[in-house]
């Protein structure tokens, strides 16, 4: 029956991580517990297989891309500090930070979050979302459910709207502008999927708790919530 500070000692480099990422002590402990759960074979690091074993992630249409943001060629094993650093992108945006200040840009700034989303599209990392990459992304999200023609028309329309300098690809700045002006954006996607879910009796689990704007994680992790905006 030790005190909580000795629990923090279990976590290597906890204090530095807290400073670097802005997570609180409880957050770090919670993340460490989760890391240990995912690291089934107690190797001390995570690999691709450990992420692929999460069933809910495997059924996500862009699940493999998200995994790729954590584990990618060049970094095939993920130790705890790297795990925390990637997740630091999803902390609530700190509205007090300003670009002109002296502090370095934190991981959870709005720009960094948008960069993360951009990287999900831009698989080859050339800084632009080409037509082919956009098509691939839509293919992943829609699967076999649309015809090629419908797919091409959606892609065409999207590029037309987003590509302001008419170079046939979407750069990060154009992406930022699109995301900022996204009228329906997240809320309608999730609420429409929620309503459609309600019409289907069986699939209770697909949209999770459906469009609700508060997600309750394991109760010892109650302090940890994310914003992605």
């Amino acid at each position: 029956m030790g005190s909580s500070s000795s629990r923090l000692d279990r976590v290597p480099g906890a204090k530095d991580l807290m400073e670097e990422t802005g997570f609180s002590e409880t957050n770090i402990l919670c993340l460490y517990d989760r890391f240990e759960v995912l690291d089934r074979e107690e190797r001390g690091y995570l690999r691709l297989e450990d992420f692929e074993a999460i069933q809910q992630l495997a059924v996500n249409p862009i699940g493999d891309r998200i995994i790729g943001a954590f584990v990618f060629p060049g970094r095939e094993t993920l130790d705890f500090p790297s795990f925390v650093r990637v997740l630091a992108h999803f902390r609530p945006t700190d509205t007090t930070w300003s670009r002109s200040g002296s502090q370095p840009e934190p991981a959870n700034s709005r720009t960094r979050k948008l960069r993360f989303a951009f990287s999900l599209y831009d698989q080859d990392g050339d800084g632009k979302i080409s037509r082919a990459e956009l098509t691939e992304m839509l293919q992943a999200m829609l699967g076999m459910q649309v015809t090629d023609e419908q797919l091409q028309s959606i892609v065409g329309r999207a590029i037309q709207e987003a590509d302001l300098d008419r170079d046939g690809a979407i750069s990060f700045d154009e992406f930022k502008k699109m995301a900022a002006s996204g009228q329906t954006g997240l809320k309608s996607v999730s609420s429409i999927m929620y309503r459609t879910k309600q019409q289907q009796q069986q699939q209770q689990y697909i949209c999770g708790e459906g469009g609700t704007e508060q997600v309750h994680l394991k109760h010892s992790c109650q302090t940890l919530m994310f914003i992605f905006c």
């Binding site: 829609l142 649309v146 997240l186 109650q222 992605f228």
Partner: protein, 438 residues
């Protein structure tokens, strides 16, 4: 000198002899005899009530000593632009990916399946070191209580329970072998029933299991299939001490194998060789043959296929629902305050697990016998299985999940991903079709 020690020795021997006799007499009178006849003195319930009072007191002290719990709830706020009318047809936007990305990262943080394979967290400490993860040192009195509890559990309860367990298992093996020598007939069935019940009741007392059975009028009948949610191997003992079942399983080696072989002498259980387990048709055939013979006992089966931590019910394997028998669902819910019954097979071996069970306070659980269900017209095995699962989850207060608990490393079916894609495409393309039609 020798003369000096002898009377002392004698005295010691006499004292030991007396205490053993007293001990065994008490054991016999208060535990074994009631087990044989299926009656109860109510000692275990008294024990449970006392423990509850102790836990209440301990909880008060912990709450008094604990610091303020910090509840930081920052909402996940979705990226909301202007309040556009939601009923107008949505177009694809670059930001649509945020929804899936968010869901993906959330499932990395916490998913429904992985957490079902670790012991349930308690809201308040129950004075066992093994369930102490969030509770810090509070007071001297609590520590003393914990120490006292340690003494009672390991010094008194554990030896008692181990003795009882050996007695129960030993009697089971011996008596079923004896009964096996009798010719098949009503006498054999009658005796076998009595013997099984008696031995399981002794085992129940060996775990200090305090079980409450609800709706016993729905108990499984011959020719039926009894289906329950699976938390630990103890589930078998809990159900079998209230009724006779035919067990299904793989033949193990060692002690388990000995028990299995002797049990099958007294009444027909369904044991499979390791090689036969893979052959689904063989399994189904043997099950349906057994079910058709109305003189045979109802089959007890756990369709989840693996132990879950008793907070949820996971996907039922459809195999047992295909054979067309009447299904008698049973919901088992353990009370985790007295001892966590979940068997985490990757963390603990069987012996370790049983020792942990026998050194907790008690195993307290509720068993609900649900009304029998049959497959309806136009329902396939999977839908029937889900219907039964939903009934069990509802009664037991468990979360009804569609994920497969058995898929620890294997790939999830693509149908689940397709469902998500269907919903999203319906949103985008479905509405475009409407527009093109108009």
């Amino acid at each position: 000198m020798e003369l000096f020690f002898n009377p002392f020795d004698n005295l010691l021997c006499i004292l030991l002899g007396i205490s053993f006799t007293v001990w065994f007499t008490l054991l016999l009178v208060f535990i074994i005899v009631p087990a044989i006849f299926g009656v109860s003195f109510g000692i275990r319930r008294l024990y449970m009530k006392t423990l509850l009072k102790v836990f209440e007191w301990a909880t008060l002290r912990i709450e008094r000593g604990a610091k303020e719990k910090n509840h930081h709830f920052s909402c996940i706020c979705l990226f909301i632009g202007s309040n556009k009318d939601l009923d107008s047809a949505p177009e694809f936007e670059m930001s649509d990916i945020f929804y899936f990305a968010r869901r993906g990262v959330e499932s990395i943080m916490d998913d429904e399946v992985t957490k079902r394979f670790s012991a349930e967290e308690l809201e308040s400490w129950n004075l066992l070191t093994r369930s102490n993860y969030n509770f810090h040192y509070i007071s001297l009195r609590l520590t003393v209580l914990w120490g006292l509890g340690l003494l009672i559990r390991y010094g008194f309860l554990l030896p008692l329970r181990v003795t009882l367990a050996f007695t129960g298992v030993g009697l089971l093996v011996f008596l079923t072998s004896v009964i096996g020598l009798l010719p098949n007939g009503r006498m054999k069935n009658f005796l076998s029933e009595k013997v099984h019940l008696m031995c399981y009741r002794i085992c129940v007392r060996a775990l200090t299991a305090i079980i409450t059975y609800h709706d016993s009028e729905n108990k499984p009948k011959n020719g039926g299939l009894c289906v329950a949610n699976h938390t630990s191997p103890i589930d078998v003992i809990i159900l079998a001490s209230d009724g006779c079942y035919a067990m299904v399983g793989q033949i193990h080696g060692g002690l388990m194998g000995v028990i299995q072989k002797s049990m099958v002498k007294a009444c027909p259980h369904i044991w499979f060789e390791r090689s036969e387990v893979k052959d689904r048709h063989l399994v189904a055939k043997r099950l349906s043959d057994h079910v058709e013979d109305k003189s045979k006992l109802p089959i007890l089966i756990f369709p989840e296929g693996t132990c879950i931590n008793n907070t949820s019910v996971m996907m039922f394997k459809k195999g047992s629902f295909e054979i067309g028998a009447t299904v008698y669902p049973v919901a088992i819910k353990y009370d985790p305050r007295f001892g966590d019954a979940f068997w985490n097979s990757s963390k603990f071996g069987m012996v370790n697990y049983l020792l942990r069970m026998m050194s907790s306070w008690a195993i307290v659980c509720s068993v609900w016998y649900l009304p029998p269900m049959s497959r309806e017209e136009g329902e396939d095995a999977v839908q029937f299985a889900n219907r039964v699962k939903a009934a069990i989850a509802r009664q037991g207060g468990l979360v009804d999940l569609l994920w497969d608990g058995g898929l620890k490393r294997a790939k999830v079916k693509d149908t689940f991903k397709e469902e998500q894609q269907k919903l999203y495409s319906k949103m985008l393309v479905g509405t475009q079709e409407d527009r093109s039609r108009s």
